[in-house]
Every structure is written in structure tokens, then in C-alpha cells.
Amino acid sequence: MALRFDENDMKALEKIRERYPNNTACTLPFLHYAQDRFGYVSDDVIKLVAETLNLPVAHVLNVATFYTMFNKKPVGKYHLQVCTNISCSLLGARRLVDKLEEILGIKPGETTDDGMFTITEVECLGSCGTAPVIQVNETYFENLDEKKVEDLIESLRKGELDV
């Protein structure tokens, strides 16, 4: 079924459009909006954004595949993005990844069968002074260790955290 933006979406998108002198400049903000709205950037989302902006599908596809934050396949309800760059790694980010693999039974790049969790190793999140860090959806969890990771997963499973 073809996706569509409803009236409320269009209002929000028109407000975004006002910030820029042309449609092309809206590509990133519209993709962000669509990813929030539809969960991930599927081929249908790319077509929808292209149609809405009256831009070639190839342009939107090119942009969507260049940037790492646009998920081209579905991710779990909780997207666990573990920074493994230098400052986090110096303080044990690898052990956090190992711990997550152990608890969830998946590797980075994979999603649990129940669709709850996806693990991704990411580059520097700009949280080096509070390393190691995991970004869950849009929220940073900082100064982590293995025990705190266990607690974090437990809380997420119980739906106790708004991320």
C-alpha cells in the first residue's frame, strides 16, 4: 500500500519548507520527519518524500543512503547505538557491546526476534567526557558500565523509560 502524509503531516512539513529557499534543501528534514512517522526509511518512504518535494527519487535515495542515521531497514523498538570510538573504547565500550550480545543474543547490526532491540556500533557521539555512552533512540545514556547496561535493558523491557 502506498504511504501518504496526512493533513497534520503536511502542515508540519510546510512549516519546515518555509525555512529554506528551495525544495531540495528540505530533503534531510523531510527524511527525518518521515523516519519518525513511519519507523524507517523504506523504498516507499523515499518515493513519498520525493513526490512530496517534487524531486527525483534518485536524489532522495542518494541522500538517504549517504547518511547513517536514516535506517534503510526496520530497527527494533529500542535502537541501541553503542559508541566504540576512541574515548568510549578506552573506557570499555567493547565490554558493553559484549554484554549486550550476551543479554540479547544478537550481534551488532541485528534485531531481536521480538522486534524490541537492535544493536548498532556507531562512531563518536560527542559524549567523550561521559564515556562510555549508548544512544537509545534519541536519548543518551552516559557513564555506563556492564551493570548499568543490564539495568538499562531491564528498564527498557519493562517500558519504564521514555526514550
Binding site: 525555512r19 529554506y20 529557499p21 528551495n22 525544495n23 531540495t24 534543501a25 528540505c26 530533503t27 534531510l28 528534514p29 527524511l31 527525518h32 536524489h59 542518494n62 541522500v63 549517504f66 547518511y67 547513517t68 542515521m69 536514516f70 566504540t84 570510538n85 576512541i86 574515548s87 573504547s89 578506552l90 573506557l91 570499555g92 565500550a93 567493547r94 565490554r95 556507531v122 562512531e123 563518536c124 557521539l125 560527542g126 559524549s127 567523550c128 567526557g129 561521559t130 564515556a131 544512544q135 534519541e138 536519548t139 543518551y140
Partner: protein
Amino acid sequence: MSEIVLFKHLIDPEVRNIENYIKLGGYEGLKKALSMNPDEIIEEVKRSNLRGRGGAGFPTGLKWSFMPKGEGQKYFVCNADEGEPGTFKDRYIMSENPHQLVEGMVIGGYAIGASVGYIYIRGEFEFVAKTVQKAIDEAYNQGFLGKNILDSGFDFDLYIHLGAGAYICGEETGLINSLEGKTGKPRLKPPFPAQYGVFGKPTTVNNVETIACVPDIIRRGADWFLTIGPDKNNGTKIFAVSGHVNNPGVFELPMGTPLREIIYEHAGGIIGGKKLKAVIPGGSSAPVLGPEHLDIPMDFDSLKKVGSMLGSGAIVVMSEDTCIVEAFTRLARFYAHESCGQCTPCREGTPWMYKIMKRIEDGNGKKGDVDLLLDICKNIMGRTICPLGDAAVLCIKGAIERFRDEFEYHIEHKKCMVDNKIPIF
């Protein structure tokens, strides 16, 4: 207590609210600026010796003076893409003292003749962007943004643009392309952004910390700014310290503060009282230094003299328990991942360097691998459109030159010379 220019939340924790910011002299700089003519502002910023805090250290006033005079659409863009590994300073200016940036944007916009500004914030910092947006909304309500600001006849609109996860967009022309809704591949220069920038119009791009210095320079005068820090390196600098220290964090200190004082006093020294082995002084692209450099003043010119750079002022500390080969192999992977793929030497060279370093790290290194790495470095350096390739070279070559024995040990003994390390891979 040293002078506070940027981290005013240390004076008033609620300074992110506009009323609190105004109580500390906020928007006085803007009022004064609007009573001056734009060229006078540029002259004052030039005289202050303010240099770009994003990494390059280019004189800000001079950069502003490159903008063409006269009518026509121009843009003022803030680079808040903060992605250089080890760097986490702009984040705190934006989340704790956002009006400092907003005020700087309006003053800068007036000085260069721009009527629209964009703050390009990395996508992961959406939570930070919300705080900045609130500050922008407050500034509109108080008449510091929008039409006819403070009855001066000057119009300036300010918008946030979120990135989407690409280190390369921290390069100013990559950022411009990304702001235009394209892939963030850097452009050949010339033309420079001041001639042909965002949407084909004259544009100035400055880092958050740079722009945040401007309100106080205008309000208190260049002469005051010149009293802080060494000659030609004036002002305060936010040093972001991470890695093996007891008290990691951000510290606003006078430019030229000795590295030793930053690591051992402000950041609390090395975890477990261990020995310092290596320190990256300015984000991952700055060549690594050793304990013999601890007395160096942390400023642009002093670091250049020892073959490194101040970069973003991000200090990554590594204790004696660090395997240099492993740590820098991780950084090699970063550059390989972030190369935009546009220029052959960088696209092919960065993954190749990672592959060689990973095999050395894994104990499968071959005799001659170190020289091969240096040869690849030679063939990337200076042969690409943007400095990402150069950055990868500075990082990796710096590590090899200082710690060549560790690389050779790995190759010869097929193992690491460091015990008890925290594994990175």
C-alpha cells in the same frame, strides 16, 4: 578563577533562560553592535585575534572580511556538527548557554550582511537542538531576531538544520552541500564559500565556540579579549578532556594553559595513578604527543611548533595500559568509515590503512607493513579535495612516528607488548 566567557552556566546555572542571560549582560553586545557599522564590528573582531575554534584556527575577522559588500542574499552558518573524535565542547555551550550562540549569530549576521542564519547541528544532538530552538524562540519574542531587530532596520532569521550522521559534514563545504539537501561531499575551493556558498550565495561558516566568543568581544571590547591568553592566540578555550583521567569533562581556561595543568589539575590526573603514555591534544586528527610534551602551552602556535595542532581542543589521554596499535587501528577504522568516497586516495587509502593496521593488531602483520603504511600516507597527503584524508594521515603517521617500536613489536612477536589492557576490538 580564570575568566569565564562561554560557560556562563558556571555563574548562573539557569542562564539558558533569556532573563537570566540578560542579567549577566546578555544581548548588550548585540545592542552595541547595532549602533556600530558592520565594518567596525569586523575590525573589532580582527583586532581581538579571535581564531576559529573548530580546528583550523583561521582568524575570524579576516574570514568575515572576505564577504562581498553591498546588497544581495548572504548567509551566516554555524557549524555545530561536532564529530571529531574526542570533541564534546560545543554541545555544552548549546545545552547550557545557548543564548551566547544565538546572540553571536545575530551580531555575525549583521557584520557580514546576512539576513538568514542556519545552525547546522549533528542529528544525534536532537536533544541539544531542542534547547537551542527554545532559545531562538525566546530571542524572537524579545525582538532580538526577526524583522527590524531593536528598531535598527536589520532583519535576521535563524533556523536549525539537523544533520544525519556523517563526520564529513563538519568540513565547511560538505556542510554547505548537506544544508542544501545533498550528500555531504566537500567542494573544490575556489570558489570559497564567501563567493559561492550555501544556495550559491556568499556564506560564512564558523564553529559554535567561535561565534559564542563574539558577544563578549563586542560588549567588553577587543582590548579586554587581548588580555586573555598568549599573543595571537587570545581568549579562553574550552578543553574537552576524555580517556584515562579521573575527572573527564569540559574546562574553559585561558588559551595557552599548560597541558600538564589541564590533565593533572582540572581533569584530576591519570586513573589509578598510572603513567601517561600518549595524549592526543586536539581531536583524533591531531598528531599524538608523549609525556615529554606536558609543559606545552595549549594554543594554536605552540602546538604547531611541536608538529601537532590545537584542533578542536579535545584532549584524549591514554595511560601506560593502552596498546597504541589497537587504539589507532580503531581510529583508522573511523576514517575509513567516514571517507565520503569522492577522491580516490582517501576512498582507497583509508580502508587499506585500516586493513593493514588491523592485521598488525591481530598478530598477522608482515615485515614491511609499517613502511607500507607510511607510503600510503605519503600518497594520500595533500591529494584530496578536503582535509579528511590529511586528517587520517596525521593521526596514523603521528602514531607510527612516535610509537614505531610498538608496531614492530606486534609484527615480530605477533602479540601486544601491553598487559592488562581494556580490549578495544
